[in-house]
Symmetry: D2
Subunit: 332 residues, 4 copies
């Protein structure tokens, strides 16, 4: 069984990270082609992999005979069209979240994929592969805390990207939790409400932090805090409170220091150190599935559609003064 040849579309932070991980840490994967609208950037990233070529044409990646499978890490607005092109070409595709910026486009992609036979799109909700999150899910499933009643998710970062808006905070960041929570509880989100304190003085132009309540079909209630400009570090927390106990992620620092009247351990500045293993294991699992022809263990296009439907309900609540809004997943 030889390795699979992978084309990566998008050579920004995320695409470059995927190329490096595939090349250096994934067994059975070979990056053969890298695309970016900035051809120099594509060439620079391709240059890190012996034998890899560069292009500024995303569709050329999909059509290339030396590309067995495609990773889409370009701008969110391109995800839908590229995914559709890939499934039409019959190639497995790992698309970064979100599947598409709008629910309508998500529906279109899911339909096109089904038309092509289904099962070709894997969505990059990498937390499903984070060892801490998978242990958390195993513990919950094993009944270690009893039936879940409350979940508390926290996503904090150092600073938001330029141009961030209230909505992007939901569709770009909180959306991870909209996939993680139902995956963790094995129960879909049924209604949501949006809340916020006054915003931090560190930003202007959008609400930060935000606090979202999610109700799932199992009757559990989840709070999701998203705070993009928390300043102190990149910090992902999750606690599940059940009928006779709790299970939670730990602070994942590997070393602790005593210095200057304090015992302390570090936070990373961004998601890369925190989720490096998750991305590696996700890419390995996807590569293994593509090589063996097995079903991908990743989130599906429909999972992406569902998460976008939750995001849509949250934004509707935000626009309606925090009213409770039911989640409506379009029939596809």
């Amino acid at each position: 069984m030889s390795g699979i040849r992978i084309g990566v579309i998008g050579a920004g932070n995320m695409g470059a990270d995927h190329v490096a991980t595939l090349h250096r840490h994934v067994s059975g994967a070979e990056v053969t082609l890298v695309a970016d609208i900035d051809k120099e950037r594509a060439a620079s990233v391709a240059g890190t992999v012996p034998g890899a070529r560069a292009t500024d044409d995303a569709y050329a990646v999909i059509d290339d005979p030396e590309v067995d499978a495609v990773v889409i890490a370009s701008h969110d607005t391109t995800h839908a069209d590229l995914s559709v092109a890939a499934v039409r070409a019959g190639k497995p595709v790992l698309c970064e979240k979100p599947l598409a910026p709008t629910l309508e486009e998500c529906v279109r992609v899911v339909r096109e994929e089904r038309r092509a036979g289904g099962g070709l799109i894997s969505l990059g909700f990498m937390r499903r592969f984070d060892p801490a999150h998978t242990q958390l899910k195993s513990a919950v499933s094993a009944g270690e805390c009893g039936s879940p009643l409350l979940v508390r998710c926290v996503s904090r970062g150092v600073s938001s990207a330029p141009g961030c808006t209230d909505e992007l905070s939901i569709t770009g960041s909180a959306i991870h939790e909209f996939d993680t929570v139902p995956w963790l509880l094995d129960s879909p989100v049924t209604e949501v409400s949006w809340h916020a304190p006054r915003s931090t003085a560190a930003v202007s132009g959008f609400r930060d932090p935000q606090l979202i309540l999610l109700r799932t079909a199992d009757g559990a209630l989840t709070t999701v805090e998203v705070f993009l400009n928390a300043r102190y570090g990149y910090d992902i927390r999750c606690e599940v409170v059940g009928e006779h106990g709790t299970v939670a992620l730990t602070h994942p620092a590997r070393i602790v220091a005593d210095s200057a009247r304090a015992r302390s351990s570090g936070y990373p500045a961004d998601w890369r150190p925190r989720f490096a293993d998750a991305y590696r294991l996700e890419l390995q699992a996807w590569t293994d599935a593509v090589r063996s022809g097995a079903a991908s263990p990743m989130a599906t296009a429909r999972d992406g559609l569902v998460a976008s439907a939750v995001a849509g309900a949250v934004i509707a609540s935000m626009e309606d003064g925090g009213k409770t809004i039911p989640v409506q997943v379009p029939e596809v």
Copy 2:
């Protein structure tokens, strides 16, 4: 300066605990009289203190010439009348929370106290004396996390008392947080909303856990989780998230054990070990104030009125499907 002679009304768990603490750990306090409607119980508790007498008449305590100050730890429904009698007698009184079960009665007590000159009633919001909570407040005040934006409070217990109801969970337990949060932030609660997941199967007849959102005048948003039947232990948490960091209570275990594939540290079964220091320091501070004639550093009757007003708004939200309800503190 000689010690003060204290009469304790109520010889249940709380009253007995106060008697033991005053007698064994508070400097300058002498318990001289213990009252309980069950005279045997009064006698049993009084018997632990050399020289202390027992009675089944609460008002006899207030009138007793050998009682300089009164502790009220009897049933919640007696707090208002006994407090009023004590202030009319001109005696300092430490009343367990709540000041009274209804807002109307709270108003009456505050008015009676003012009529008597004010400053005689101290309310037993003992968390203000818990070393962990006072350190938390100091850190917040010192700006260690920046201006507060979000607060997360958790109050979990092993099991609820018989006869607990949705409302008692609010007025008896959550009310601690309704005092703690504005004290911590130095900002009053302005509006609230009530939420809950499905209830734990461990109880029937009332909602447990409950989740309350509090908005304070400073713009911060607080979540209060109250879970009386959390089963695993008595667990009080508080985290303040500010503009550049967080401050939170730690898990207060003093020892940690490795055994049977786990590293673990204990939770107490109830509030006594957790707040023993808080009660001791509260009683010491009150004793010192009474002895020296200084103003009590404890919560006031008005603080009790305000906390009850918050509790009333939360119950109104509960009864109105989780609607956001403004807090209205009666003019007194």
Copy 3:
């Protein structure tokens, strides 16, 4: 039962701390007289307690008719003579450790005390009253880790007092562990050896840190690290490793902060915050015993003699290149 009247000899840091604790936090104790060779210092400390008097004559405290019991917190070299004077006067005495700087003097004190009937001297090994240490002992005794095999003690401080020497590091600091370990294990120290790395550049003139091995009669092996100039904070650790698990002290911080890429919790600058409860509970237990005529639950003069014998063996090992030295406790 009225309170006991206490005279405190020594108004330095330790004596002043005892006066404050007795006056403000101990039930049933009244400080009536404070002595110091610096009479102004005595007066200043006595001035914090209404009704207390000051003197520069330590023996006047012992003889004073308004002194029921004596606390000795003066210079180490005065402990033996003052203790002997107190027992001859038939007054209970709480003597700060060490009982005496030399083993010979310790023997003399123990003999004098026995001659006076015994049971009058309590030695200030306050760790026996530290809630963390007592929980540790309870857990070990309850078999939570199985029979102890290894113990690891760490005593670190910010900086040493002026004039510190190799020996003072042993007789002034490590000696706490020489009492704690046999108390914890319920087994005496039988042999010792002394070791050290190169010293920290922060001091000159003595060895710091030092590492001591203690063997107890039960066959367990203990390492004691004493590092007076560890700089980062005052930090006391203890771990007991048994046949099927471990029990250890936790880092006792009550709050934790996230800030500037780190999660951190504080260390105190010295022993006062760390052992405030231990001193309070020790003084309360001693006061209770004196009032009731019960035996003191504190360490005895003989315990002090034994600890000094261990210290002597450690110093002998230090002077003999780290050789293993048996502990010889003089017959008294």
Copy 4:
């Protein structure tokens, strides 16, 4: 650049683990041949890798034209001969520790390797690749704790392998620390002494736990606790105490649970979960070096010789009542 073809000698726990890691998680490595004296075991492990063959002849692996590089994970007593055969065949070899059971054999291997041009042998001290240990080393090197003075290493396991002896505990387990400590401090071990409490009742026939003191050329003093039958879990600790602070490994649990009056997090039953990343990163780094022709970043044969020299000195101390023994590394 195509992948390298690897032959693995030894299909026990360790060999099987290496095969699985190379096949499933290492980029650019292909397992082509697996040897074991038990041919069925070899076949069973080879059967997990498409295309891999099995043999019961270890030397056939070294001679095989489809083997570019060799992993030796067979019995300790075979390491020397197989390593020598591999270097004579000019093939890079990753040899599990120890390099050889005796110092004499270690010397022979190092000489043979030098004769063959050097640089062909990499020794499996995988802790050098453990992310926690590499972060610890980085922190120490960056001066986060100041110049190291004391190091505390703890290696605890659930139970020892059948047939374990006092010496095997040193040469098989403690030897990891004999490599880790000088690597961490960048300073060789110069003298050692051996100590032990009474042994745990869980085993008979050998001393467990053992406590070893190591002195390094930089003047630091290290304690190494090896406790193979600690029962509660597999637990590796390391703390470096420097002139103004400390750095230490954390307990590496990813999740924490509250249940039954305790907050707890797990320990693994053996080394596999703890060091899975270390082995993966070691094998990846070795594969990368072999592919690119760069020098291996792993421990060298000489590092293995040095660790064995330390082990020899420790055993000499054990046999001589705990005397301090200088480490003598043979000239090669």
